[in-house]
């Protein structure tokens, strides 16, 4: 059960081959292999995202210049009201700063991305494991985490160093990963298609709610 056999599972997982997850489940060190895979993917992704962010920075105008143009634009109602609202919304300007980080800040992707990938995998895996058990699943936590780690393979479509931050590619990869997670949960717990779907949906919803609550608390605290 070597690294090449693990790597060979990746394209099969990308193309929704359910048997790939069954083979991952059988690996004696599925959890450790899954963690190593996501760490390597996260490192490569961090490098690609950092390059994309730097390319975006050099080809787009500064946020201060954009703010200046918005402030001095003479527009009739209702456009003027919308522009005034945009200028007041700090979160929108923060989003613009995220979409165009300075080159040194872009290097943060190198550290943040692998940690985010690993943290998201553990959180989602634990939630999906709980939901699958509630729906009659029979897999162990190690098997669930091993299979859901492989289901992170679609993030590899973002390994293009030209992609700007905050672009539709993340949405595309996220949808792909979610579909793959359903297959992973199905294989790990020997569930039928619909139960695997609901277990995955419940885990994804719970994670999204937890993140939204965390963001709200952080925003209120600030």
């Amino acid at each position: 059960m070597s690294t090449p056999t693990l790597v060979a599972l990746v394209p099969r997982a990308l193309l929704f081959d359910g048997d790939a997850y069954l083979e991952m489940k059988k690996r004696p060190r599925a959890l450790e292999d899954g963690a190593a895979f996501l760490l390597a993917l996260g490192a490569a992704l961090g490098l690609a995202l950092a390059c994309g962010a730097i390319v975006t920075w050099v080809t787009s105008p500064g946020i201060a210049d954009v703010q200046r143009v918005l402030a001095h634009t003479a527009a009739p109602w209702p456009l003027s009201r919308w522009l005034a609202a945009v200028r007041r919304w700090d979160w929108l300007l923060s989003a613009l700063r995220w979409a165009r980080p300075a080159p040194l800040m872009s290097l943060a992707y190198l550290v943040v991305t692998p940690l985010t990938l690993l943290g998201g995998w553990l959180a989602f895996g634990a939630l999906a494991h709980g939901a699958a058990h509630l729906l009659g699943g029979q897999g162990s936590l190690r098997e669930t985490l091993g299979c859901t780690a492989l289901a992170g393979a679609p993030w590899a479509v973002l390994l293009l160093p030209l992609l700007p931050p905050l672009n539709p590619a993340g949405l595309a990869a996220g949808a792909w990963v979610l579909a793959a997670q359903a297959q992973a949960v199905r294989a790990a717990h020997a569930l039928d298609g619909w139960r695997a779907f609901w277990a995955t949906a419940a885990a994804a919803l719970a994670l999204a709610l937890a993140l939204a609550l965390g963001a709200l608390v952080a925003g209120v605290g600030r």
């Binding site: 193309l15 929704f16 081959d17 390319v55 975006t56 920075w57 050099v58 080809t59 787009s60 105008p61 500064g62 210049d65 954009v66 143009v69 918005l70 634009t73 003479a74 527009a75 009739p76 109602w77 209702p78 456009l79 479509v157 293009l160 030209l162 992609l163 700007p164 672009n167 539709p168 590619a169 949405l171 595309a172 949808a175 792909w176 579909a179 297959q183 298609g193 619909w194 779907f197």
Partner: protein
């Protein structure tokens, strides 16, 4: 290669056997290639427009004047027409001002790199729209008793991108909205046929499965706009 092209042409003409024959890997590759072609056409047109800023300014002024004329034929009251026309003209001016801002790289190099980014983002944008939509169609088709697998649905559904090979033509001829409507309708027809063929459904359930996610998204969008207007 000839066989692939012949099968693709038959699939575009809604041939059931041709829709069934595609594997997921070649279908996805075709989908991404078609989207990339559209992205390259869009990137080249955008770069050309940005490099000829004087002509771009003139084009914006002409568009604002055309909108003013079109609104005269609309049922809106005169003051609403005037407000709408002034807002569109102000928006186009703002767009021009933002595009004129300096960038760290500067000049033609920045435009070339930004155009390349636009081109490579296009397949991802298409994937971000197509994949969740097709997954929703798959779930609905299975709920209606469909028997197809996820791989088969995605493979046949990816062929809905085939008509979009005509999109760059629309951009070049300046009739992109018209061509876009035709290719979108043709792509939707391929998706409905693919749903029917893959899942063994009758026409009615296949059509409902294929269009419901779109109608639901439209309803949510209208609800959001209505809510925003009401809260204003």
């Amino acid at each position: 290669m000839g066989d692939v092209l012949a099968t693709a042409w038959r699939a575009a003409r809604l041939d059931a056997d041709a829709l069934r024959r595609w594997g997921l890997a070649p279908a996805l590759a075709l989908f991404l290639a078609v989207s990339l072609l559209g992205g390259v056409a869009d990137g080249l047109t955008w770069a050309q427009a940005r490099l000829q800023r004087g002509q771009l300014t003139l084009a914006r002024e002409r568009l604002a004047a055309r909108v003013d004329n079109w609104l005269l034929y609309s049922p809106l009251p005169l003051d609403a027409q005037h407000t709408l026309a002034r807002n569109i003209a102000a928006w186009l001016d703002l767009e021009g001002d933002l595009e004129g801002l300096p960038t760290p790289l500067g000049g033609g190099a920045a435009v070339a790199v930004a155009a390349l980014q636009r081109a490579v983002v296009a397949p991802y944008r298409a994937l971000a729209l197509w994949l969740p939509y097709t997954l929703a169609v798959f779930a609905l088709a299975r709920a209606f008793g469909g028997r197809g697998s996820l791989r088969e649905m995605l493979a046949a559904g990816a062929l809905s991108a085939l008509p979009h090979l005509l999109d760059p033509l629309g951009v070049l001829l300046g009739i992109a909205p018209l061509v876009g409507m035709v290719t979108a309708g043709w792509g939707a027809a391929i998706l409905v046929k693919a749903t029917r063929v893959v899942h063994g459904l009758e026409a009615g359930p296949a059509l409902i499965a294929a269009v419901t996610p779109g109608l639901a998204a439209l309803a949510l969008a209208l609800l959001a706009v209505g809510l925003a207007l009401w809260l204003r």
